[in-house]
Symmetry: none
Subunit: 326 residues, 5 copies
């Protein structure tokens, strides 16, 4: 089992300072929110390597629930320990760490105040096979408060026959979260019997999924990187007629960002399955950056490799986002 090092006596946060102009600009988009929610969005934006840049790299570890522990952690068994992921997120300088209730409960006190936390409020597992999936609600807004989280995370599956139920659950959770001064992060992953496998990441579907999440009141929207595929015939007509540029990944990112209130909501992109070649991930980060995306949420590519590799890998991505490297 993994040995967790005790906290090194490192330098604490530097003297306080005003938010940067960019962070203030981003906060101005959330004009209907109370200062509590704005504070928690600011905490996300003002933490870690990318603090103040308006860019975000978030470490999510819900794979144990979503795919099972061995598929998630056997390749790097240190990841079985909930503390490990806090350590990686903190040492890498991520903006936040996101996980389900149990993984947060198991290590939040030890790392209190060291990294913004996002409580993944619903989760899905693959022990049951269904065409129209629905996650289980596995935590509450009150849990997020007692665990010191800055945001709730909620997954919706647009395209599922159960989408209405999920949207309704999200609505209620978001209302309570906003009243309590928390931020709302929505994972919007199209799935369901009406969509082809290719369609789940088609550009029309991805942009639509991002828009729906924003309409449901999300402060931060997470979608998968879109392919050039167009799933819906009616959408195809619109893309053709308006000649929407979707040829490159950066162009598709730009379209998704535009579809999310013309860029007035934070949109981040998921890394997907572990890639064999890190350069592919770096190229994706470059495309997200160049397309005006706000960053990445990178799970498997981070925790399915040894810690020192993960830290170097995340550092490279952050430097791409921060403009410190091309």
């Amino acid at each position: 089992m993994a040995v967790i090092q005790t906290a090194p006596s490192v330098q604490p946060q530097a003297p306080s300072a005003h938010s940067t102009h960019r962070v203030r600009e981003i906060l101005s988009w959330y004009e209907s929110d109370n200062p509590g929610t704005k504070t928690n969005i600011a905490r996300l934006l003002n933490h870690g390597h990318l603090a103040g840049t308006g860019k975000l790299v978030i470490l999510p570890v819900d794979q144990g629930f979503e795919h099972g522990p061995a598929r998630s952690f056997a390749v790097n068994p240190a990841g079985y320990d909930p503390n490990y992921h806090f350590e990686v997120a903190i040492q890498a300088g991520c903006n936040a760490y996101a996980a389900p209730l149990g993984f947060i409960e198991a290590a939040a006190a030890r790392h209190a105040g060291e990294i913004p936390l996002i409580l993944k409020m619903n989760n899905h597992d693959v022990l049951h096979d269904e065409k129209d999936p629905i996650p289980a609600v596995t935590a509450s807004v009150k849990d997020a408060l007692r665990l010191g989280c800055v945001a709730i995370g909620f997954t919706i599956y647009p395209g599922s026959a159960h989408a209405q139920t999920m949207y309704g659950q999200l609505r209620a959770a978001a209302e309570e979260a906003k009243q309590s001064g928390l931020a709302v992060v929505v994972w919007s992953y199209p799935r369901g019997s009406s969509l082809s496998k290719e369609g789940e990441t088609g550009i029309d579907v991805a942009a639509y999924a991002a828009h729906i999440a924003a309409e449901l009141g999300a402060h931060i929207v997470k979608v998968k990187l879109p392919s050039p595929h167009i799933e819906q015939a009616e959408a195809q007509k619109a893309y053709t007629k308006a000649a929407v540029p979707i040829g490159t990944l950066a162009e598709r990112v730009r379209h998704v960002v535009q579809s999310t209130f013309d860029g007035r909501r934070i949109v981040i992109f998921s890394g997907g399955a572990k890639k064999d070649n890190d350069e592919d991930v770096f190229d994706e980060a470059r495309a997200i950056r160049d397309g005006g995306g706000f960053g990445s949420i990178i799970g498997r590519n981070s925790f399915q490799r040894p810690k020192e590799h993960a830290l170097k890998f995340l550092d490279t991505i952050m430097r791409i986002y921060g403009g410190e490297m091309q």
Copy 2:
């Protein structure tokens, strides 16, 4: 991305005044409602170009949710920005602007008090294909209060196998809205496995849908413009026997208005998909006016063209309703 102009230092509202006789007459129909709800109906009727006439032109922008962002906004990309639609509605002198939660949240504070708002409380997307659709509940009456809305908007699909669920959701929302002094606007759109495509806008079905909405307690009912088609055999007998005049659009509008408590509820009509020829829309407005309808709710025909065209287009419609032009 669209550039939103800062507010010009225009002339504020003119000195306050009593409501017109027509507005007071309309308000008298809602005699079971409390002064709060009457106040908010009055706000709708006393705002904009048509203030005091008893006629309404409302800008709705829920197309992003209902059809996807590219299908809605690619043709006029300024529409990706939630602020754009507030600007159009305000500058055109619409009576109100209606949109889902996210679009309202994104721009309501900036435009506080400048246009009556209708919070679209449920919404449907087309990522899942179903014969008997049901929208998701995506906002609450409390959201409407905190966002400064004058009314909730709620869609029902009479004819869907899930109609009972929707009616029940509407009932609960309307009860709470009325207690809170808000108005209730119902989009009544027949759809479902029991109706033919043609039947969805058949005159018998349209009149029936309007009546159901009124029976459910709607203050304002929105239906599609009806065709002469009659869907239900039993209804056909009644129309024939009584020789109900439904030959012209104005006659059909008159019949729908009559079916909605003999004209004692506000009934407005939706414009439908973007028309190639504006004259067709103007003719529809004339028919609505001549048939005793109360106005239009015009989305795609407004926001799927450049702003200056939209303002001119809306101005023409309002002048038709206001009697300033034939």
Copy 3:
């Protein structure tokens, strides 16, 4: 009894428009409030003769409760009828009308949407004589919603031995009002056994009372016009040391405004008892205007004279505030 004329068919509100720069500036001070509360503050600022100027003239009629009906209305018996005051406020172009529950209930439906309403949520009568008074809570936030009000009004008596109880009642009412998108208007009237009669309007006490109301979360603060008297010895030292200019009424108004978050809260001044000479009231309005005050709340001087005189009287005051006359 007074004959209430039916509503003349006057011109409704002019085409809608953006708020003025001044109104937007004022709204920006309420940055912790939701769009609903901002909307209702905007409604106050955008209504009537002074719409858009950032100035307010409000008609309050709680004298019947506070002093008894004959003392209030015998001199102008039309005032016994609750409708009368709505008519005066509407015809004069006041920004709002404020009254206790019964007076609002009796006439709000007839005048729905014609004038912003402030529900006076607590009231005091003089049938019991006490040195440390406390008003009774006579209405609720839910009442304000069902009656279509834009704000609650709440009286506190700083200096009363019961001030803690009032502050706590106001706190709870303000929290609920803000959640519901309403504004909060606080009448802050120093009274109690610790204050001399002269001290109740002393400049130190008036500025203190305004500051307390703002600290309690008031959006709009109403105080009496201050005299040059200084009540508290410790305060006297501060005024002397800093040489705070309080010689003229305009200077004292300026000091009260400064004491209310450096002018970042709306402060209005009450007219007090019926004056024999209107010019005295006009001079006070000029001093309020010149000192940076936001307007007046004028009850007895309005309703204790015939209607036509009242309208002319109020018009003069509004023209002073609006800069249309010196």
Copy 4:
């Protein structure tokens, strides 16, 4: 009126890092608290100039409420503006800013996430003269959440005839705050008809007041600096018998800290009225530091002088606490 500068484009917070050993040690004392409360205590300890040292300098501005605006701000009129104090606290590198509801509401959104906030939940004014005072409850735990505060602040007056009421109010507020993941800061100020003026700061009374606050569940206790006076005869016997060293200020601080769970609760000391000689304040800080105190809460000595002087003054105090100067 004061001109508030817009935020300079300064460097945001440095890359995140583990808490120091000292911070972790302090957090370990709060072992019954949930991770949310620990997170918010950590936020206080990890912010500003003294981040990570376990020492705190907090800027409180409740003087406007407690003593009146002129007595508080006339000497430095910039302080009338709520934004001014946020600016001072942020630029000085304070650990936190504490104020009543109105002062927080007026500026929290603009400064979201830039400084930990403590909502002063009850407040007292001097317009009523009483021997046994009780503050009014002026805000709620829900207010603290919606405003993004890390803690509630609550004043008790041990020695007042109303102490039981205050203790009960604190109990209820603290219970709700802890469930919501907030920290609880208690101002424990002995006052009341049973205490002599000298006794209010007597060492026995100060130590007792600190202990009571800790017993009531405070995470952070604020008391006044104690004098060598001993108020209670029975206490005098105990001090004499055990020969408790209380001759120097540092010894008295040590005794108060010991009395607060043997140093296992954070105890900070208030600066009191504006001192003529800054060296006196610096000497007090040295005594607090040498006696094992955790820092200072310095209001009037900070905001009753020009900003540049205040920043230099606070910097000196922080350097004393941080060990950067003797």
Copy 5:
């Protein structure tokens, strides 16, 4: 019916003492829990034969509900009496006794304080045959409190089409239990139409089920002993690639423990159906012990034999866990 002997005057638990290092280590894993929950976990760990060892043997008797009374108790009719199982658990020195509401209610008062109780909050019967089962919620957290229980027990069926409902029920029950200072024990039994019979105990599924229970916030997880079977193709790849050792039962136990937060949650294993040969059960206990498991929950093998045999049988198992025999 069985004659229940009155309780012999046996030796109570030894005088209280500090928890052992092992118990303190285990408690440290539950760092987000309040002292109440930690106290109740400590009660489980500090009771009976295995007190202080960190190992647990629990007697569960929910078979009457799950399989029917005759199938459960006919072979040893003493088991029809709820008191019988309390007696066995107490006399055998089990750490706890777990049962549904009725069985607890029937005997809890007589044995108050003699053995930690776990209230089985949901239960399933076999009178209805379904492929995707869901237990009924049969008790509440308030029941657990009034009956003096240390924990609630809750069953989930990962793999069932109704898993989302169960997870949601567990979430709500666990939140309330933790607020009330109770511990949460989750029976995680994979079942449902997506799993083969063999798959229900496959090592990948068992490890996954244990992980899900921990992610849902369980303090103690109970699973069935896993077989070497691997059910899911994607999981097979992960096990092969990482060469996870699962050949022996001890290795499989070790993998399940690792999958449950790297051993930072208590995982116990169920004995399953009555074995013909006790040595098989003992060998299983040895494998659980050697694999780092925390103990057993043994129902049918205990109560489906005469009491004296049961006591001897349980004693052997405890001595295996306690290291007193190989």
